[in-house]
């Protein structure tokens, strides 16, 4: 059917050829009036940020559907998005600012006016800023205004700022950024249209919720082979043509074995490697020297390679050279080898042979070999060519755009392990060896990515923040040398979460999961105020949740809370709200302006950059304010630079005003579309007072479609690079060189050997030497190394239910009917072995704590693995659910069993349960044993906590819902 747009536009998904009503005469009104107004805004039932059409009837939300034109979801909507009405009407919505009156953590509050709330906050924050700004720790969760919140923290002057990335997927982000200048996560996507082989590693749902589903649907329709590597066979893995039920934490072995096979069979794309990567760059081999393992550079700092045609060392990044990929050379007396030679030497080693890794990974050698063969077949035998000429960075014209149609995508199944950074690097290495990054059919960058690798800028705040002074730059950034670390002269962490310290040098997103425990311990120091925005840190984003709750209420000798003051901005009555001293109630997503900015995590497509807004489509019926507006208000009260004008008056009326008028760099603001006085500019241009109207008129988003010749090889495509520089994505239109060899890691190893100005304390040497390998390696996850795996024989995982978003789905009257109790899924054979039957209640015991839940037997799981749905278990009384709600009665939260610290090492030191390189929280390293509980223990989950009181002002949840009846009444009255 022509003229139809969107994802579901095949002839079998469209309207009837004749969609006029037949004369049935049964009195059915086949053409009821649906809505008075339709507003096109952006969904926020999750971070996928789909475009939605919100239908309003008599001022109430009648229906929410996907926006067909929207680049993210192209008309479809997910299970959560379509339940938006119930999120918007949740009885757990906060109604007014709250001040704690009872003990922390009970829910005993009194309602206060905004003026009082803001005065309390401003007074406290002003005091902190004037004395020691780092005593404010500002951490934000699943929000999408990090460019605002980060900037605010910078202006405030605290280095203690991060968003949720550290406990989320920093391994993926960092490994990608340091390797290819982009990443899976939200910064790239498979070329769904052209790929002929798709491999998915450790993904249950991901942020690109709808795009992945749309893509998988298309692949299935085209008959493209989909391989899912995942210990659990749910969702995407269930429809994969091949499911590889790997043992958790061993993907690195699988991937490196595939690389071994490909190298052995010479199935790697050498041309691609010399053009787009550092494969030919020479590395110094001089064990013991201060520059051993660093890349060879000339006096001007240029990377060098060996040219085979002239047998000389040449500028490795110059075009037209004929670099050697093998051999070893002596340059100015230094022995060097090309990086590729190191790669071949490393991975051709029999320790990476499929046979050597099969048992450990649970993937048979024959299967590994076959997958390698299939990958090679798709990449090399099924190579494709789009009839699109393009010009590379060196000005060479290519008559066609060639592609190797193998696409991969990976997420937290890789990320949430202590070896996740290296495993993710291994996957990127595999992609690059096959020549599949940003080529037709491969993995594609979404602008503003790719960016230079290794990435910049550096994190700010090394001096710990000075009174009444902004930081010199944004608190978060990228470290590539020990000098960049945020440590003091004694080598101690500057940040409360110890990000960018020796414990987590490349912690690009901070390490939010350490904040509460560190602040409570006063390690590295005590703080005054913890400001949390849109995160449930006392529950599902905490490890050791029970302990975290205690830390939040623990008092010192003088009877004062060890974490003196907690401010929380939330829209709902979460578990964490009960632990706040001051609650700043936020609006819901249909009630406010938001901006999904290219400065943050945009909604771009590989075919072009895009950003979007949210705008109020209904007015709040409560005394709540958008947090971003509140933050700007606080900033103005604190007289933060950039938030007040010359007269010292608030610079921005509210967040909407900021979105339009704020400029981060001259001409670069939160939104890229319709800039300039007349709205004709994109990317750079003067603020346009009409900008928001233009967005609204365009369906809530802006999108720029790249020219056909800019769409691929973005890392080396002259036209694209020039565009990116003009847009401000890149400082200069220079090619991005993929880093197969990650030199920054070697710098840390050298520091551990005592080289350089900044060296780690002796206790850190071993970790740095072992894990900071500049080429991808595999090592057993830390918990596995530390506990008796004979006792804790099982891996325990969580997965995201597609219809729930973290902890906040359960307040939704519709979503919670689908899942209000989670089970622990156990393999039938495993259950039989330990004597468990379906529906048994079991203790799930880790080295740290035990949790009780009910099991369900399945076949579709790795036999050494048990798993459950994430964040279904709830604290009694939270979210305004009834006291007997199954979420609290029978649902369980696996987090209780996950320790924030590893068991003590030989020196008795307890490291954070995190990746040693990035500080990524290792949720999925958990090892457990199962034990059937006694009969009298069956039927309810444990641990159980005291019930939270409903906060002042929140009405009881209704006993019955008949939403929609009002529309029918109105319809029938009007008839």
């Amino acid at each position: 059917m022509t003229g139809r747009t969107g994802a579901n536009s095949s002839a079998t998904q469209g309207p009837l050829v004749d969609s006029s009503a037949p004369p049935e005469r049964d009195g059915v009104d086949t053409s009821p009036h649906v809505s008075d107004e339709v507003h096109q805004t952006t969904c926020y039932m999750c971070a996928c940020r789909c475009g939605i059409d919100v239908h309003l009837k008599n001022g109430q939300v009648r229906y929410i559907q996907g926006n067909r034109q929207h680049p993210v979801n192209r008309g479809v909507i997910c299970g959560k998005g379509a339940a938006g009405i119930m999120q918007h009407l949740s009885p757990a919505r906060l109604r007014k600012p709250l001040l704690r009156v009872g003990e922390r953590g009970t829910g005993d509050f009194r309602e206060i006016e905004w003026d009082e709330a803001l005065a309390i906050a401003a007074e406290r924050l002003a005091r902190i800023r004037a004395t020691d700004p780092k005593r404010l720790a500002f951490f934000t969760g699943r929000d999408q205004s990090q460019s605002l919140t980060g900037w605010w923290a910078q202006q405030f002057g605290t280095p203690n700022y991060a968003a949720h990335g550290g406990f989320c997927s920093v391994n993926m982000a960092a490994a990608g950024m340091y390797t290819i200048g982009g990443s899976f996560w939200e910064f790239g996507e498979p070329d769904w249209e052209h790929t002929r082989y798709f491999m998915l590693f450790g993904v249950a749902e991901d942020h690109d919720s709808n795009p992945i589903k749309i893509g998988l649907g298309k692949l299935k329709a085209r008959g493209v082979k989909v391989v899912s590597v995942n210990p659990c066979r749910t969702g995407y893995s269930a429809i994969a043509d091949e499911w590889i039920g790997i043992r958790p934490g061993t993907d690195g072995l699988l991937v490196l074995a595939i690389i071994h096979e490909l190298l052995k069979a010479r199935r790697v794309d050498l041309d691609y490697l010399v053009r787009y990567t550092n494969a030919h760059v020479l590395v110094i081999r001089d064990p013991g020297a201060a520059d051993d393992g660093l890349c060879l550079r000339d006096a001007d700092g240029r990377l060098l390679a060996r040219d085979r045609s002239c047998s000389r060392t040449v500028d490795a990044l110059a075009s037209g050279i004929h670099p050697a990929l093998s051999g070893s050379y002596t340059v100015d007396g230094r022995a060097c080898v090309p990086i590729f030679a190191l790669i071949a030497e490393r991975y051709l080693d029999p320790q990476y042979a499929p046979e050597a890794v099969a048992e450990r990974s649970g993937v048979p050698a024959a299967m590994i070999k076959r997958i390698a063969a299939e990958l090679a077949h798709a990449a090399f035998e099924q190579a494709i060519e789009l009839p699109v000429p393009w010009t590379d960075w060196a000005g060479r014209r290519h008559e066609t755009t060639r592609g190797r149609p193998v696409a991969m995508h990976a997420m937290r199944g890789i990320s949430a392990h202590t070896n996740g950074f290296q495993t993710c690097r291994a996957i990127h290495l595999l992609q690059v060896l096959l020549g599949t990054v940003d080529v037709p059919g491969g993995f594609r960058f979404k602008p503003p990515y790719p960016r230079p690798a290794p990435p910049g800028p550096k994190p700010s705040g090394k001096d710990g923040g000075q009174p009444n002074t902004p930081l010199s730059g944004m608190p978060l950034g990228y470290v590539s040398d020990p000098q960049d670390l945020l440590i003091d002269a004694a080598g101690n962490p500057v940040r409360i979460d110890k990000a960018y310290s020796w414990e987590a040098p490349l912690a690009a997103h901070g390490a939010m999961h350490n904040v509460i425990a560190n602040a409570w311990r006063g390690d590295p120091y005590k703080i005054d105020t913890l400001l949390m925005y849109m995160t449930n840190m006392a529950w599902n984003s905490a490890m050791n949740t029970a302990g975290t709750i205690v830390m939040l209420t623990d008092k010192d000798e003088t009877g004062r809370y060890k974490i003196p003051f907690v401010i929380c901005s939330d829209a709902y009555y979460s578990e964490t709200v009960a632990y706040a001293d001051l609650v700043l109630p936020d609006t819901t997503y249909l009630e406010r302006y938001d901006c999904i900015s290219l400065l943050d995590r945009p909604i771009s497509h590989a075919d072009g950059p895009a950003d979007a807004i949210r705008y109020p489509v209904v007015q709040p019926d409560r005394d709540v304010r958008p947090f971003q507006t509140v933050l700007l208000d606080l900033g103005a009260r604190l007289k933060l630079p950039g938030m007040i004008d010359e007269q010292g008056q608030p610079k921005y009326r509210d967040y909407a005003d900021y979105i339009v008028r704020h400029e981060r760099l001259p001409g670069v603001g939160p939104l890229a579309g319709w800039r300039g006085a007349d709205g004709e500019d994109i990317g750079r241009g003067a603020p346009n007072p009409q900008q928001l109207d233009r967005y609204i008129a365009n369906g809530g988003y802006w999108r720029h479609e790249l020219a056909d010749d800019q769409k691929y090889y973005k890392m080396a495509n002259r036209s694209y690079l020039e565009f990116a520089a003009a847009m401000g994505f890149l400082v200069a239109p220079e090619p991005i060189v993929f880093q197969l060899y990650c030199e920054p890691l070697q710098r840390f190893r050298l520091a551990a050997q005592g080289h350089g100005a900044i060296v780690p304390p002796p206790g850190e040497h071993d970790r740095l030497a072992r894990y900071f390998d500049p080429l991808p390696i595999w090592y057993p996850p830390f918990e596995e190394q530390a506990v008796d795996t004979g006792v804790f024989a099982l891996h325990a995982l969580t997965q995201r239910p597609m219809h729930m978003y973290h902890s906040w789905g359960s307040q939704n009257a519709w979503l919670r009917q689908i899942t209000s109790q989670n089970r622990l899924f156990v393999h039938r054979a495993t259950a039989a072995r330990v004597g468990l039957a379906d529906d048994d209640w079991v203790w799930i015991e880790s080295h740290h704590a035990r949790v009780k839940g009910q099991i369900r037997l399945v076949d579709g799981v790795n036999p050494d693995t048990v798993w459950t749905w994430n964040a279904i278990g709830k604290r009694r009384g939270a979210w305004m659910l009834g006291p007997e709600a199954p979420e609290a009665e029978r649902g369980f939260l696996l987090n209780h069993a996950i320790s924030e610290l590893l068991p003590p090492d030989a020196d008795g030191r307890r490291y954070s349960n995190s990746d040693p390189i990035t500080g990524q929280a290792a949720w999925f390293d958990l090892r457990v044993r199962l034990e059937k509980c006694r009969p009298e223990e069956a039927g309810f989950a444990e641990p159980q906590f005291a019930m939270l009181m409903p906060p002042a002002g929140l009405p009881q949840a209704p006993k019955q819902l008949a939403y929609g009846a009002q529309f029918r009444r109105a319809r029938e009255a009007g008839r």
Binding site: Q817, I818, T819, S820, Q821, P886
Partner: protein, 314 residues
């Protein structure tokens, strides 16, 4: 299937009422019964009362009882509608019969004719009731040749036992009625045993493979669409533990059949107050016995929808 008390009360009471009406109509016409007003009041009155209470109880089952009258419209296809029509139609001859008998104190002539018509209508109504269940393909335990005759047999049986008790209580012994009751109880017992025997060999009318279109190997439910019970499960997913069912079946054997049969036998063999007492005991145990029988009729019936929830096998 969910054993709704209203439906259990309805089918049991109307069954007994119509059964009694059948016997009153037939036996009155054949002159076996006393023509006295008090007997007429007791007999026909009880029959009509049981029918009426039963029908009213069935209304409790409806979501919209005020619209119950609409149920008369679809007699061409619906057994429930036919039952509704039949039950109302039955009132006409039944009332004429009762009125004639009570007012005229005669059981011949027009009264007898009305009695026979009432008996026929009553029997037909019980057939329609039985057919409501017997025609439901998704419920294997109901969709059998045993269901409809069962309804008829238990109705006639309970009618006969009641009639015998009334006769005995009003000191009008009728060995014939006692014998009828005796034979019907035996037949009912036999029929119930046959039915249960048949049910024991029943397999689900279809499989989860067929229900999901997934041909081949075993299909197992691993997650429901909703983690708590919904209408389908509450209405059609009712489960009764095997142990519990066996115990209740024992009660049925004893209360609905064993004791009534023995007591009726005693009534046949004895006379006077012994016979009277025995007959009343037969009636008084039969009613709870049949209520339990009817409860099990629902509770033990399994609906194909339970397959989707992994349920039928259990």
């Amino acid at each position: 299937m969910h054993p709704a008390l209203s439906v259990i009360a309805f089918t049991t009471a109307t069954g007994a009422g119509y059964g009694l009406l059948v016997w009153l109509g037939l036996l009155a016409a054949s002159g076996v019964l006393p023509a006295s007003r008090s007997f007429a009041l007791g007999g026909a009155g009880l029959a009509l009362a049981l029918i009426t209470v039963g029908l009213l109880s069935s209304m409790l089952h409806l979501g919209r009882p005020e619209r119950a009258w609409r149920a008369f419209s679809q007699w061409r296809s619906s057994w429930l509608s036919r039952e509704g029509v039949a039950s109302v139609v039955t009132y006409v001859p039944a009332c004429l019969f009762a009125a004639g008998w009570i007012l005229l104190e005669r059981t011949d002539g027009a009264v007898a004719a009305a009695g026979i018509v009432a008996a026929a209508c009553a029997a037909a109504t019980v057939v329609t009731t039985g057919m409501i269940y017997a025609s439901l393909k998704p419920v294997a335990q109901w969709n059998t040749p045993y269901t409809m005759p069962g309804y008829v047999i238990y109705a006639l049986m309970s009618g006969a036992v009641l009639l015998n008790a009334i006769l005995q209580a009003s000191r009008t012994e009728s060995r014939a009625v006692a014998w009828i009751a005796f034979v019907l109880i035996a037949l009912g017992w036999f029929w119930k045993n046959m039915t249960w025997h048949h049910d024991a060999t029943l397999s689900a009318p279809t499989t989860l493979n067929s229900a999901t279109g997934l041909g081949g190997g075993e299909v197992r439910s691993i997650e429901w669409p909703h983690s708590e019970k919904n209408y389908l499960l509450k209405e059609m997913g009712y489960r009764i533990a095997r142990k519990h069912a066996l115990k209740l079946r024992m009660f049925v054997h004893v209360l609905a059949f064993g004791i009534p049969l023995a007591a009726t036998e005693i009534a046949i063999l004895s006379a006077g107050w012994t016979a009277g007492l025995a007959s009343v005991i037969a009636a008084l145990t039969l009613i709870p016995g049949l209520l339990i029988e009817r409860w099990l009729f629902f509770a033990e019936a399994k609906h194909t929808v339970t397959l989707y929830y992994g349920g039928w096998a259990q």
